[in-house]
């Protein structure tokens, strides 16, 4: 079914101009990250306010290794994944034991520390002034740009989506949802809570890292400011506003919030205010996200029809 959607979407893409191509590339890259976050938050019921850190680790791994050490992008990509996974393991183990607020604050602190390191390790990362001249990806000598990159990114999104959906409808997915619902009962069914949470956390870090690497090769210039608190919060918002309980919700939220800055052209001063307002209203009136809100409306309509019928 998913394949059908993707194939149906391709023809319109060929006629698109560069502006929209750029935006869709970002929607794709962000989706890769938010899918992982959705698995962590929506399904496993944990929280991470520092995920920009993993995104940044992927980006900087790709950037630094390709520019400063001449390593092939695929190698750098792999290194980013390994580094993110390792850090996720080290950070996740003690953090996932914490309850609610403390986990939130711990991930917040973690994100900030990584941000500080990005800024301070300037011999490696270029510090606040950033890292430039990151090579674009090439296939058989031809640089991937514009529409080609769009296809690349969305191929990744597609694969991630399939993987995630498979996971949700599997033993692991049920274990995660069970944990979210009742950690006690899940334990009594054999679910090793700490192991499962850790695995999902590492997986979401890997998703973010891969997205970050693709980001680095696309924009060819990265600086720490893209990987700070606001981006972590933005990622969180995409998941929350779209709908924590479903991957589709996360993608919807991602699309909405990635497109949002485009509508705020000229109103940049109000950007943060708008984000805050959106998050607030979303929590107050649609705590399960836009997707769930829409679904509930449809279900109610169907119930009405069934009653009359």
């Amino acid at each position: 079914m998913v394949m059908a959607i993707f194939i149906a979407a391709f023809p319109p893409l060929t006629g698109m101009n560069n502006y929209w191509v750029g935006i869709l590339i970002f929607v794709g890259i962000h989706s890769m990250t938010t899918m992982g976050l959705s698995l962590l938050m929506g399904y496993a019921g944990q929280i991470s306010l520092g995920h920009a850190a993993f995104y940044g680790i992927g980006a900087y791994s790709s950037g630094v290794l390709t520019t400063k050490f001449g390593i092939h992008p695929i190698g750098a990509f792999g290194f980013g994944i390994l580094l993110s996974a390792a850090i996720a393991f080290l950070v996740g183990k003690p953090t996932l034991r914490l309850k609610g607020h403390y986990m939130a604050v711990a991930t917040l602190g973690f994100g900030e520390i990584v941000f500080i390191f990005f800024n301070q390790l300037s011999s490696l990362t270029g510090g606040p002034s950033g890292l430039s001249d990151i090579p674009s990806l090439r296939i058989a000598g031809h640089p991937l740009e514009g529409k080609a990159y769009l296809y690349l990114v969305w191929a990744f999104v597609f694969l991630f989506l399939i993987f995630s959906l498979n996971l949700i409808n599997s033993r692991m997915g049920r274990a995660l949802r069970a944990l979210h619902s009742s950690e006690r009962a899940a334990g009594a069914m054999g679910v090793d809570a700490s192991l499962c949470k850790l695995q999902v956390f590492i997986l979401s870090a890997i998703y973010a890292s891969m997205a970050g690497s693709l980001y680095a090769h696309y924009v060819t210039f990265i600086s720490p400011s893209s990987f700070g608190l606001m981006f972590s919060i933005l990622l969180l918002m995409m998941v929350v506003v779209g709908g924590t309980e479903s991957i589709w919700g996360a993608m919807l939220g991602t699309a909405m919030l990635t497109l949002l800055p485009e509508y705020l052209r000229g109103l940049e001063d109000f950007e943060m205010l708008v984000y805050g307002a959106i998050l607030t209203f979303s929590l107050l009136f649609m705590p399960h996200g836009v997707l769930e809100g829409a679904r509930k409306l449809l279900i109610r309509e169907e119930k009405e029809k069934a009653k009359d019928g």
Binding site: H101, A106, I113, E271, L273, A277, T280, L283
Partner: protein, 297 residues
């Protein structure tokens, strides 16, 4: 400057920022005690206090003491509004939702500050013009003494409030057992409101005091909140005394570290303390492990 003088200098700087952390930590503790929530918008109260003061003094040139009072009252009002609009309507919300709600509040407040004052840092002159004081070769600005004095005053006032006044004791009761508190007639919802108002006031005082020295900009909030929270957990979340002591400790250690070792990573120090406490000893230095178990750490 000799090493001793440097150390004394950093020590006083540490006490100065430490007071801010202490006040923020106290604010966290208050709200946590009354509601069990960690208010991620705590840092924004500080930011607003500072920026409001700056705005009133630089713009309409309102006399300092009056500006101080207005700033505090305004931010207290903001805190109360925040509780009414964002926390109060969600009594059955999951913890996750509440956390994100306070996060939303912090973004909203930052957004407002950005619209009103832009991204530039603002400052205003010290409370009382005066020459720096020399202590063993270290140069201390008079503002530092104001900060320390006011902080100590506030700490005693808060202690008095909690231990002597009826309202304060009621608030403590809510912390221990909201159901029992309700049963004996304490209006828990009002206590929640009050805790937000008081925390906001504390934050505003901190912001107003520190701005002459460090200036204030719209996005100083999150880092302050994180450091203040680090102090709150270090001192044992729930313990006001612990929070204050820990605030000063973190301030001093951070300042010494920045001065003697490296200033680029100085912010990371408090954050590492935070992670260490959360990961290794969540009950903090003064709290008890059983208590943290009860509080579901």
């Amino acid at each position: 400057m000799s090493l001793t003088s440097q150390i004394i200098q950093y020590f006083f700087t540490g006490l100065t920022v430490g007071s801010i952390y202490a006040l923020v930590a106290l604010g966290f503790t208050m709200i946590y005690n009354a509601t069990g929530i960690i208010n991620l918008a705590q840092g924004e109260f500080v930011m607003l206090g500072g920026l409001l003061m700056a705005f009133m003094i630089l713009g309409p040139q309102i006399p300092l003491p009056i500006a101080f009072l207005i700033a505090i009252l305004t931010v207290t009002l903001v805190g109360i509004l925040f509780e009414r609009l964002a926390i109060h309507p969600l009594p059955k919300a999951s913890i996750l939702t509440l956390i994100i709600m306070t996060l939303a509040g912090s973004i909203l407040l930052r957004g407002v500050a950005m619209v009103l004052w832009g991204k530039d840092p603002y400052g205003f002159p010290e409370f009382v013009r005066g020459d720096p004081v020399q202590i063993f070769g270290a140069t201390i600005q008079p503002q530092v003494f104001w900060i320390l004095a006011i902080t100590i005053l506030v700490v005693f006032a808060v202690r008095f409030f909690f231990e002597r006044t009826w309202i304060g004791k009621a608030m403590s009761a809510c912390a221990f057992n909201p159901l029992a508190a309700r049963l004996v007639g304490i209006n828990v919802r009002f206590m929640v409101l009050l805790s937000f108002g008081l925390s906001a006031a504390l934050g505003a005082i901190a912001g107003a005091m520190i701005t002459p020295i460090t200036l204030m900009e719209y996005d100083r909030g999150p880092l302050l909140a994180l450091k203040g929270f680090a102090a709150a957990v270090l001192g044992g979340l729930g313990s006001g005394t612990g929070a204050i002591a820990a605030g000063f400790i973190i301030g001093v250690v951070e300042s010494l570290g920045a001065g003697l070792i490296s200033s680029g990573y100085k912010d990371a120090l408090a954050l590492l303390v935070l992670l260490f406490v959360l990961w290794v000893r969540p009950s903090g230095l003064l709290g008890s492990p059983e208590e943290s178990e009860l509080r579901k750490i």
